[in-house]
Structure formats: structure tokens, C-alpha cells
């Protein structure tokens, strides 16, 4: 469950976050279909509340990915009997998630290497 009293999350650089939002969404949805609120909860849970999507960031990003053909969506009944809009990956979305993940790993390894060597 999302904790309302744990809003003191880590404040990441906005520019840094901007480029990774799509990847995070695609990666989370590559495991199972989720609705918006569930994505926020899952991201918070995995990062131990260090990272949280803001609604104003998540939903436009979801719609952008849907528009680009990386996501499909459908309204259906959730576990508690409520109608929810579930998002899942398309084949193009799956490829994009894999590509994004490998790009990210290469990028972070490279940056990490530079930072590490700078220290020594």
C-alpha cells in the first residue's frame, strides 16, 4: 500500500528522471499488466519509497507510450470489482524495453567507470 506519510522521498534531478521514466514504465509493465495507481505503488515498493511517480508525470508518459505503440490498454474489472485501465506491453514495447535497458546499463556502466576512475 502506498504510504501517504512517506512523502519525504529522495529528490532526484528532474533532467535525470525525465529520460528514465519511459524505461521504468516499460520495465515494470514487462512483468505484468498494471493500471496507473498500481505502477506508482510498485515503483515505490521496489525503491523502498525512495522513488515515486507523480500522477502528473506518469499519466502523460503512459499515454505517450500508448500513442507510440509501445503499450496497449483496456478497461476491465480489477481485483476489488472496480473498473480500471490496465496497460500492457505490445511486441514493439517489449523490444523497446529491452533496448532501453541495455542502453541504460551501458550508460550507467560508462558513467560509473568515469566516476570511479576520477576518485582513484
Amino acid at each position: 500500500m502506498y504510504r501517504f506519510d512517506s512523502l519525504a522521498t529522495m529528490s532526484f534531478n528532474r533532467e535525470l528522471l525525465k529520460g528514465s521514466i519511459a524505461l521504468l514504465i516499460l520495465k515494470l509493465l514487462s512483468e505484468r499488466e498494471m493500471y496507473g495507481y498500481e505502477i506508482i505503488q510498485e515503483a515505490a515498493r521496489r525503491s523502498e519509497n525512495a522513488f515515486e511517480f507523480k500522477e502528473g508525470t506518469l499519466y502523460p508518459a503512459l499515454h505517450q507510450l500508448h500513442k507510440r505503440g509501445f503499450l496497449r490498454s483496456e478497461w476491465r474489472l480489477g481485483e476489488n470489482g472496480k473498473q480500471r485501465k490496465y496497460y500492457g506491453l505490445t511486441a514493439a514495447g517489449r523490444k523497446e524495453a529491452q533496448r532501453g535497458e541495455s542502453d541504460w546499463r551501458l550508460f550507467t556502466q560508462t558513467v560509473d567507470a568515469i566516476l570511479t576512475r576520477a576518485k582513484t
Binding site: 501517504f4 502528473g56 499519466y59 499515454h63 473498473q83 485501465k85
Partner: protein
Amino acid sequence: MTQRYAIVQQIVALARLPNARRRDIERELREHLEDLADDARAQGHDEAMIERMEAIRFGDPRQIGAAFTSVYALELWTRRAAAGGTLLLTSIATVCLVVGTVQASAALCSGALCAPNSGGLPSEIVGICAVALGYCSAYLGQRLFSSSTARAASLTLLVAICVAAGLILAVPAHAVLPCVAFSCTAFARLLQRVSIPLLWFVGTAAPITVVGLAFRPEMPGQGPPLWLVWIGLTLSCAVLRRVVDRFDKSTCAGILA
């Protein structure tokens, strides 16, 4: 309406979206807020606190609205272009019918065929398109920029300049009448919004009168008499008014909102 749904209302009102998308986003955000509120209640927070937290979490509705707008901008403008094109084609067909009827009636009454413009059929077609385009551009300007008369008039003026430039480049000898026809119908459409009945007749009459006084002796060819042109234009505007009224009530119009 609670503050909770007011946020959603603000977001969808500020975003420029196709109607179907607007409804879908509104529904999705409402469901989200309900989930958020349910969890907060389960944690023992009161309604005032929940609403405050929701406002913090959602942030500035203008920014979210702008973000949604940019996602659907291309789709919106494609739909707008399609709706505008449909309206324009319908208007051209309507003007063809009206002008054809007026010319046929005049021919029947006078017992002679009414002489077309010296440019012949192509020139007639250009004139008819100019009539429809003038009316539609004024209407679309009013529709797209309902809150700003200046911006609405600017759009019409921009289209008028493009039409005039195109005509002068393509058919310099026959550019005057279509430009006048454009001005007449655009002006008439603007005056149709004024609450004084029949004032819009001035819209079609004024440019023709000016042209009749200033240019007619120098204009090439023996086109139809100007009073007949005026009747054709005025009847076209009257019928086009019905056409755009119907368009306003159709689902297409929502796209232009």
C-alpha cells in the same frame, strides 16, 4: 463537486484533447483518485488531509494539461483538419447548388443565359471555392478562438492573404472577383454574429459596392451583373449559416472546440 474531482476537471479542461480521449483520461484520473482516497482512508487520514495530499501529488493542473495536449497534438490537428475539410467540401457543394440555382433562375426570368466570368468554368469554380472558403475561415476563426475576436479575425485575414496571393500568382487577370467574394462572405459571417437582424446583408453588399464603383469599368469580360452576384452571395451566406449551425450540433464541432 469535491476538490478531488475539481483537479481532474481542471486538467481535462486545460488540455486540448479529442473528445473521446478527454472522457477516457477523465475517467482514468477519477478512478486513480478513488484508489488514492481509499488507501488514505485505510491509513486513517481525514477527507481534508486526503484532498490536500492529492493536490500535492497531482501538482499544477496546467502543466499536466499541457503534457496531455502535447501527447495528442498531432491527433487533434489531424482531426481538426479532417473536420475543417469536411465542412469546406460541404460548403463548396452548397454554394455550387445555390449559385447554380440563382443563375438558372436568372436565365429563366431573362430568357437568356447569364454570362459567366470571362475566365469561364475554371474561374466560376475558383469563385465558388472563394465564397465557401471565406465563410468557413471566418467560422473556423470564431470557433477555434472563441475567446478572442482579434485572433479569430487574424486567422481569417491570414487565410485571405494566402488566397489573394495564390490567386494573384495563379490567375492574375481573374483574381479580383474571387477575392471580393471571399471578403463578402467572411465579412457577412462576422456580422451574422451581431444581434441586429439582417445587418449581415451589409457584409455582402459593401465589398461588392466598393468594387463596383472602383473597379467594375476596368474589369475584363462581361460577367454577371453585380446585383445578381450579390443575390448569389447573400443566399449562399444564408444557406451556409444553416450548414455551420448543423455542423455545430454534430460531433465534428467538438473537435474544433
